[in-house]
């Protein structure tokens, strides 16, 4: 079989057929405002901007708390949360930067690669920020209690708070160090790979596979 019969057939496929439903769909741009709100990337950007502003405000607040040199446990909680806020801000800014680089009329391969990169950064960012939060959230009631009622909660559960802060900080540092490596290649240990897949819902592995496929596609 030659490709010419295929082309011939393809040209008979009715792409130019005057189909009224296709015409109506093609004219959707005239009701642009109606559909603008539905665009996913715009919504994604809006969420990122709101997240950025929220964590920026929280970061300033935490900074102002530890600057006042409160009791040690409160200060440690404020510092830990401050560092966490900075990490969230960096991750959100990186995502916004990637979204900002997307152009509807850029070459197809380039856009596919940027979207895959965005998916990977989103999955890695959620893993990087979600896990430490399981421990670091305890710092929030400590700060709130201190600011609202001048109560040092660490007096009631000093050990639990310390363990929580240390675990959260250690996890965040470890994940930060490993994140870049994981983005490039899957962990060698199958057990670790399974754990990451379970925690990220296989999204990290999926995004990595997509990036590799795009690299191969261009290389061949």
């Amino acid at each position: 079989m030659h490709t010419d019969p295929l082309k011939q057939l393809w040209h008979q496929a009715g792409g130019d057929a005057d189909d009224s439903e296709a015409t109506a769909a093609l004219n959707s741009w005239r009701r642009h405002r109606q559909y603008a709100a539905q665009r996913q990337l715009s919504a994604f950007s809006a969420v990122q901007v709101m997240q950025l502003l929220f964590w920026l405000a929280l970061s300033i607040y935490c900074g102002s708390v530890w600057w006042q040199q409160p009791p040690r446990a409160v200060m440690l909680s404020a510092v830990a949360l401050h560092v966490y806020c900075v990490a969230v801000i960096i991750v959100s800014a990186a995502r916004l930067h990637l979204v900002g680089q997307l152009q509807p009329d850029q070459p197809v391969l380039q856009q596919s690669r940027q979207l895959a990169l965005l998916r990977m950064q989103t999955a890695a960012g959620e893993l990087l920020l979600g896990l430490p939060w399981c421990w670091l959230w305890l710092a929030v009631p400590v700060l709130v209690a201190w600011q609202a009622w001048s109560i040092d909660l660490s007096a009631f559960a000093a050990r639990a708070l310390l363990i929580s802060l240390v675990a959260g900080a250690a996890l965040m540092t470890a994940l930060l160090l490993l994140a870049r490596r994981w983005q490039r290649q899957a962990p060698e240990s199958p057990r670790l790979q399974r754990a990451i897949d379970a925690l990220s819902g296989r999204r990290l592995a999926g995004a990595r596979a997509e990036l590799e496929a795009l690299r191969d596609w261009n290389a061949r």
Binding site: M1, L6, A25, L26, S28, Y35, A36, Q106, P107
Partner: protein, 170 residues
């Protein structure tokens, strides 16, 4: 170039889109197995294209090249969503975008077979094949952002692959 159509971007866009509607419809055919998905895709492409129309510079690219890029970018980024929606369609009768109804039944069947074979390809291969079938050979490298040598190599392999899967004489 001082006609109302040349001055008003809406009129200019409407005229260009109407002139190249075949590109959008064929991409929708190539990427969507179901009519509803295909119409959604056509809709999204037209909205995105209008959104990006400010960036269209006739000195840099032909409208067809520009429209192909926008349309393929929208189509490929929607493949994931379509795959999810296809699960909901599972078990339902296929309801594809209508083929030329005046054509003989044999030809309609062959067209459908070809569309099915194209839709089995991965998204980027599909884009390459659609551009090839639509005789946009010289623009392929520019639209996809790959080298012309890569275009030739990949097309050769794809033709072989399609030949194995699809035989219009069958």
């Amino acid at each position: 170039m001082n006609t109302p159509a040349a001055r008003d971007p809406r009129l200019r866009f409407a005229a260009l889109l109407e002139q190249h509607r075949g590109i959008v419809v064929k991409i929708a055919r190539g990427y969507c197995a179901h009519q509803e998905d295909g119409l959604d895709l056509i809709q999204d492409i037209s909205v995105q294209a209008w959104d990006a129309f400010d960036s269209f510079d006739p000195a840099r690219a032909r409208f067809s090249t520009w429209l192909y890029r926008v349309a393929l970018n929208v189509a490929i980024s929607q493949v994931r969503r379509q795959q999810l929606r296809q699960r909901h369609h599972a078990g339902l009768e296929e309801d594809t975008l209508p083929v030329d109804e005046g054509a003989p039944a044999e030809q309609q069947h062959a067209v459908k077979q070809l569309e099915d074979a194209i839709r089995m390809l991965p998204p980027l291969d599909r884009a390459l094949m659609l551009l090839h079938l639509d005789d946009h050979h010289r623009q392929i490298a520019d639209i996809l952002g790959i080298s012309t040598a890569n275009v030739s190599t990949r097309l050769h392999r794809l033709r072989q692959q399609l030949r194995a899967r699809f035989d219009p004489t069958a």
